[in-house]
């Protein structure tokens, strides 16, 4: 499986772009999580993220999230300049709790989906999507 190699494939551009200290990214992600959960504990499981292992292009990455029984889902890109991608609230007219959309990822990173269940508890899933800089047309 891909280990450090994929991280190396990011190239000069992304390394230069990530001029912010790592701590700043962590604060944004934690803030986003706290804003959604109010600081409550977040379990793992019960949420499925479908995303490509390697994004063909980071500007348009198809993602599907399923969380049976969820009332709300937040999608976070932990390595983007701003971690929040979208928040989905399901109403009484919703069918199965699923959404699919297309997102922008600036670099290889974990994307995270946190679901708020009907009983107020939180659960989550996390997958890595590799984003590379191509050789042609960047």
């Amino acid at each position: 499986m891909f280990t450090r190699r994929d991280t190396l494939a990011i190239g000069v551009g992304a390394a230069a772009a990530s001029a912010l200290p790592f701590a700043a990214f962590a604060a944004t992600v934690d803030e986003a999580i706290a804003a959604f959960t109010g600081g409550a504990a977040v379990a793992e499981g019960g949420v499925t993220i479908t995303a490509p292992e390697i994004a063909e292009n980071g500007n348009t990455v198809p993602v599907t999230i399923e969380a049976p029984g969820a009332a709300e889902i937040t999608l976070l890109a932990t390595g983007n300049p701003a971690a929040e991608v979208a928040v989905f609230k399901f109403g009484p007219g919703a069918g199965n709790a699923m959404v699919a959309t297309r997102i922008r990822l600036g670099r290889t990173q974990d994307i995270m989906a946190i679901a708020k269940m009907a009983d107020g508890s939180f659960t989550s899933a996390r997958v890595e999507v590799k984003v590379t800089i191509g050789g042609c047309g960047g």
Binding site: I54, N59, T60, G135
Partner: protein, 289 residues
């Protein structure tokens, strides 16, 4: 996450390209089928020949080099974001413009009839013996017949929408551009450009798209550089792009001063590159990274 110094990253990236080259996803996926909405099968493989592509074993659409998610996006006419441009073009088709007070539709009627086959034979020599791309024909009609004030920019939103709409009317038809007769000198010019090394990197189109199709260039999967899928929705640009826009990008990537969109050089190159795809289906509008 790991943060690496720039210099090391480049050296290690080069090393990892070599490692990645061995991965199975490098070659085109010859089992992939291009089927629109579960109904319309488009030809993505065509026989090569001794005249135009003696160095290619077979002609492959760029579709076969894409990952499953990208291919899925193209195979559904609703999900395909390029269809937004096609719809815009459809609207422009029936929009009145210019001193003659007419729309394209007033003269050309239903595009499905009048424009069928147009994309498949572009670029071709006009009545005055000059090789023209679709964009030239559109602007010629607009300025000389419709009396429109301004030609559309080659890469303008309207031109990309109109060429997308016209291209859709040939979807499924085999690419079939003429390379003989009046077109011959242009085709020769295009062929010479294809094999000329440009830029600081001294790369010709052939170096990547003929010699190295199927390999990886850093993290891009090199195709044969076919244009049967143009205008295409590029995931990177998040919009439809024209053939010449891509030529500009390619030559710029060799670190050369590139030719302009709409230049005679690019129109000649377009003819040559189109002929390398003779036999492949026009994809209308495709989705590419």
């Amino acid at each position: 996450m790991q943060h690496l110094k720039a210099g090391r990253t480049l050296a290690l990236a080069t090393a990892c390209v070599a490692a990645l080259t061995g991965v199975a996803l490098a070659d085109p996926d010859l089992t992939a089928e291009l089927v629109i909405d579960g109904e319309l099968h488009l030809v993505t493989r065509a026989p090569s020949d001794d005249v135009i592509t003696p160095n290619l074993p077979e002609r492959y659409s760029g579709f076969l080099f894409r990952d499953p998610a990208t291919r899925d996006m193209q195979m559904d006419d609703f999900e395909n974001p390029a269809m937004l441009a096609v719809e815009e073009g459809e609207g422009l088709w029936s929009t009145v413009e210019g001193t003659a007070g007419q729309s394209c539709q007033d003269c050309h009627g239903d595009a499905a009839d009048s424009m069928a086959g147009v994309r498949a034979s572009m670029p071709h020599v006009n009545g005055d013996g000059v090789l023209w791309s679709m964009e030239n024909y559109v602007n010629n009609c607009r300025t000389t017949r419709m009396g429109a004030a301004e030609p559309w920019g080659w890469n303008s939103g309207q031109m990309r929408a109109m060429t997308s709409y016209i291209s859709m009317q040939s979807r499924g038809m085999p690419v079939n551009v003429a390379i003989d007769g009046a077109a011959a000198p242009y085709w020769e010019q295009g062929r010479e450009m294809y094999y000329t090394r440009f830029g600081q990197l001294e790369l010709s189109c052939a170096n990547c798209h003929e010699d190295s199709a199927g390999l990886m260039i850093r993290a891009d999967h090199l195709s044969q550089g076919q244009i049967s899928g143009f205008p295409t929705y590029r995931l990177k640009d998040q919009r439809v792009v024209s053939i010449h826009n891509r030529f500009v990008g390619c030559i710029r990537d060799t670190r050369a001063e590139t030719f302009a969109m709409g230049s005679p050089e690019f129109i000649a190159l377009e003819l040559y590159v189109a002929s390398r795809g003779n036999g492949l289906a026009v994809e209308g509008v495709s989705v590419r990274p």
